[in-house]
């Protein structure tokens, strides 16, 4: 347990459910699906022709010439971070830029730029390759652009831990403030890989749902008929701030980021440990780090991606690390799986669940897996008093991250 308290004072997001946090949260509480058919010509040849595409294209928010120089993942990171920054009210407060850091990641990075520029290289030759290619595809690009946007000078950290990236970026933000390296951290993650190559790669692993004729029902965590995850895109950003710093400026505080747990499985590069041992250690560590016990955790926003292999191990893990009492949900049933951005978006959902005393629903749970022995907020948002809640994220590579948020 740390003696330094860290709170969340700003939120931003651009997601398959909405162009900002408010519209995304409203859609979640209403149980709306953001999954739709891919109508692009390139989708015709794929076995997977559905995805959760962003509701508001970044080109509607960022001017055209700037968009030419940004990878889609960078553009979405900027959109989310600008919202969070504005929401925090920190602009113009005289915050020392040398006390402002960024911890922002992406699971895959600028893959679309890499592939598009490779097309240009093949068709038109090397001289036609854009001079903006490298800053567009470099994995630290989103973090660096967010840093430029807010003028951060206490370091810009780029996280990459596949589908745990967003949560791990938030966890690093917590560490940076506790260690005294920053007073404020813009933390989050972004992902934009709705493109035939990444889809073909995941599809070849048989990791994705092929429910092409029924997109809104394709993402169905814990349901017996789940057949894989649905790829989503988007970005989420959180302003993390030392609690006394936030109090001194009279900031509105959403929640406390009370603890984090990070472990690695040491088991397999992609298969989750069926006993969720690494996940259990991460969850237990996060609860301890928050100075709480499992009994204090009223709600868990689960990782549950809708894959046959992954979903049930986490249920075992929650029961072992936290107990059988929390009301759990998988908002991926509505947003699809935003890969590296999932942990950031789901942290936001967890924080708003605490604030509004309501658990967002898990849709499509028509026929629950027999091994699902925890209480899921199925189909409808569930009113619930939530003093503390957990968000889980697990990633290819065996990354496990659990975050604990509490009321301020």
């Amino acid at each position: 347990m740390s003696t330094v308290d860290v709170v969340v004072t700003g939120l931003g997001a651009t997601t398959p459910l909405g162009g900002d946090v408010a519209s995304t949260w409203d859609a979640m509480l209403a149980g709306r699906s953001g999954v739709s058919s891919l109508t692009q010509e390139w989708a015709g040849q794929l076995s997977v022709r559905i995805a959760a595409q962003i509701a508001v294209d970044p080109s509607e928010v960022i001017e055209r010439v700037r968009m030419r120089r940004l990878d889609r993942s960078e553009a979405m990171a900027i959109v989310a971070a600008k919202q969070a920054w504005a929401d925090s009210g920190l602009e113009g407060t005289g915050l020392d830029p040398e006390r402002l850091a960024v911890s922002f990641g992406s699971g895959i990075g600028g893959a679309i730029t890499l592939l598009d520029q490779d097309d240009i290289l093949e068709k038109s030759g090397p001289r036609r390759v854009s001079p903006h290619t490298v800053p567009m595809l470099m994995p630290n690009g989103p973090a660096a652009y967010v840093g430029l946007e807010v003028g951060a000078r206490a370091g810009v950290r780029a996280m990459a831990s596949a589908c745990a990236t967003g949560a791990e970026a938030v966890a690093l933000g917590l560490d940076l403030i506790r260690a005294g390296r920053a007073d404020v951290v813009v933390a989050g993650s972004t992902e934009a890989v709705i493109h035939p190559l990444p889809i073909a790669g995941f599809a070849s692993m048989r990791a994705m749902s092929t429910r092409n004729d029924d997109p809104e029902r394709a993402s169905r965590p814990w349901d017996k008929n789940r057949d894989g995850f649905v790829l989503g895109e988007g970005a989420g950003a959180l302003i993390l701030e030392r609690a006394d710093h936030a109090a001194a400026r009279g900031a509105t505080v959403y929640a406390r980021l009370a603890g984090a747990g990070i472990t690695s499985d040491g088991y397999d590069i992609v298969q989750p440990d069926p006993e969720c041992k690494g996940g259990i250690r991460a969850m237990s560590m996060a609860v301890r780090d928050a100075g709480l016990t499992g009994a204090d955790i009223a709600h868990v926003n689960a990782h549950a991606t809708s894959t046959p292999a992954g979903d049930m191990g986490e249920v075992l893990g929650i029961r072992a690390a936290v107990g059988g009492h929390p009301v759990i949900t998988s908002t991926k049933s509505m947003t699809g799986h935003l890969l590296g951005a999932a942990g950031a978006l789901e942290s936001i959902a967890t924080i708003l669940a605490i604030r509004d005393s309501v658990v967002p629903p898990t849709i499509n749970l028509d026929d629950p897996d027999e091994r699902l022995d925890l209480d899921v907020a199925a189909f409808k948002a569930r009113p619930l008093d939530i003093p503390a809640a957990m968000n889980n994220s697990f990633g290819f590579g065996g990354h496990n991250v659990a975050l604990v948020f509490t009321r301020p």
């Binding site: 001017e63 055209r64 010439v65 030419r68 120089r69 001289r127 036609r128 854009s130 001079p131 903006h132």
Partner: protein, 80 residues
Amino acid sequence: MATREEITSGLGEILEEVAGVNPDDVAEGKSFTDDLDVDSLSMVEVVVAAEEKFGVKIPDNEVQNLKTVGDAVTYIEANA
């Protein structure tokens, strides 16, 4: 063969597309960097687009001599 006015206007279109420059601001006396705010990476894009549009080769060692729109027009006029 394009006239100087046509080349200037063609460069204006490229500068608008690549760097968001108002084509009305594009005139022979204007410096790419000082007046039109075209940074070095965008200048690379302008050169490549101009090569395509005017059917001319502009070697890298020539680009540094093209300080103003007028310099570029003269080069394109002489080499197209």
